[in-house]
Amino acid sequence: MNIDKEEVEHIAMLARLTIPEGEKEQFSEHLSQILTFVDQLREVDTEGVPQTSTIVTETNVLREDIPRDSFTVEQATANAPQSLDGFFLVPKIIADRD
């Protein structure tokens, strides 16, 4: 299966990764190889096998609706590169209107 340069750029955009122009060809090759490898699975005869997304057969693991203690605000923001007054700070998302 072939992942072309355009597809590499799209995947990089979705993952918010910047890939230098010179490396795109390399990624295209690697991703194509991975998919070709996984493609071997298509050779398995799955006739009559129901589709599933998990191999765990256990179902219905639920919890009661009882609130428990949360992190303190300090714990919650401890790993944040930037925080202020209990908020996480992130680069501005919305531009000011003129």
Binding site: L62, E64, D65, S70, V73, F87, V90
Partner: protein, 479 residues
Amino acid sequence: MMSYHVVIGVEVHAQLRTQSKLFCSCATTFGHSPNSQTCPVCLGMPGSLPVLNQLAIEMAIRVGLALNCTIRADNHFARKNYFYPDLPKGYQISQYEAPICENGWLEVSSHETAKRIRICRAHLEEDAGKNVHQPRATESRVDLNRTGTPLLEIVTEPDLRSAEDVDAYLRSLREILMYLDVCDGNMEQGNLRCEPNISLRATENDPFGTKVELKNINSFRFVRDAIEYEVRRQSKVLSEGGTIQQETRLWDEVQGQTVVMRSKEEAHDYRYFPDPDLLALNLSSEMIDSIRVTLPELPSSRKQRLIQTFQLPEDDAEILISSKALADYFEACVQLFPHPKTVSHWVMGELLRELNTRNISAQDSFMTPAQLIKLLQLVDQGSISLKVAREIFPELYAGGQNPESFVQEQGLSQVSDEGALMRFIQEVLLNHPAQVSQYQGGKETVLGFLVGQVMKASQGKANPGKVNELLKKALSQSS
């Protein structure tokens, strides 16, 4: 400008009234200090695992059943992937191919006709956090308390044809959610959000046009305003030969217009896939049936019952059922005083006015059904006049007093005593000889004037029925 046919489908996000979040045990209480209700699960920390909240499932089933949906037996959760600062995991856990509720309908009445709006699906998902933008700040602030709060997204087929239809649908849906006790239904607080998809076409037989999704609408009025604006905008574009872009637009309540949401804020490629951290959820028909039997009477059937049992006009029944608490209040009153028309008159009139002024629900009324009925009985027995009852209502309501002792203390009892009334009547007859002879000469309309004079002389306390009766008697005797 050409006139077009409007086609609207609606997505509603209803925040479910659980105590804890959908996949972790953090509290869902509104208004706490930022990031005080978070944990490794809702912060998306590596290695943490989500566990589903049982009550959220039950609530979703309740809504599905009330909306005549099929409840899916095998449920799965999927990841919807996108980046935004209010989404710490980088994905939202939602249901994609397998929504818990499917293929239902809700009957609403719009333009005085009943209309069946098909519900395509209702699925469970977790809410995102909140971004706070301050003008001219170089950063945005993020509060993740809301992250992971359970939402039920309820999606209609494109069955709505006007802003009025959407308004009627939303109101009916909100009533049901509140009757089921699964959502607070407050658009201003954002626990009920409405996102209409609007498209136009030249005739009803044409295929659907390109649709535009509207967001950021936080009141019933803005829903109407935003849809009406968008219909005008699209009509103009099409009339001038333009084409509609498929896009999301935000309602700007200050400017009263919709504006394009910048593509930067959108993500179209969500790469849904089954969430490997969650196990399948199988709902047995026994479980679904056990919830079905606990469903309360829903607004539409309650309305019909009020009309049939109490012979109420449809409009009155509509007002009474608009809140479950108000309908409960009404029925509690009728139990004590079996005159439904009188009771509905007072509940919809004087009581509702006091409740609305204070912006409270009937269940928090300062005046209990028993107190209201005591007042109505005083009128019924002739102890006070209707006029006095109306006048003292606001004070009675605010003070929470017993109507009987209030009337006594204020000396408002109606005078029904014949001796006392006759003294007023004699006085009036003496002072108005001209009108007396007119009456006796056959001009019976003067009676009203004379009754008025007696009422005035008694400072409004005389029992008008009794005055009428005694006055006629006195006039026939003195001739």
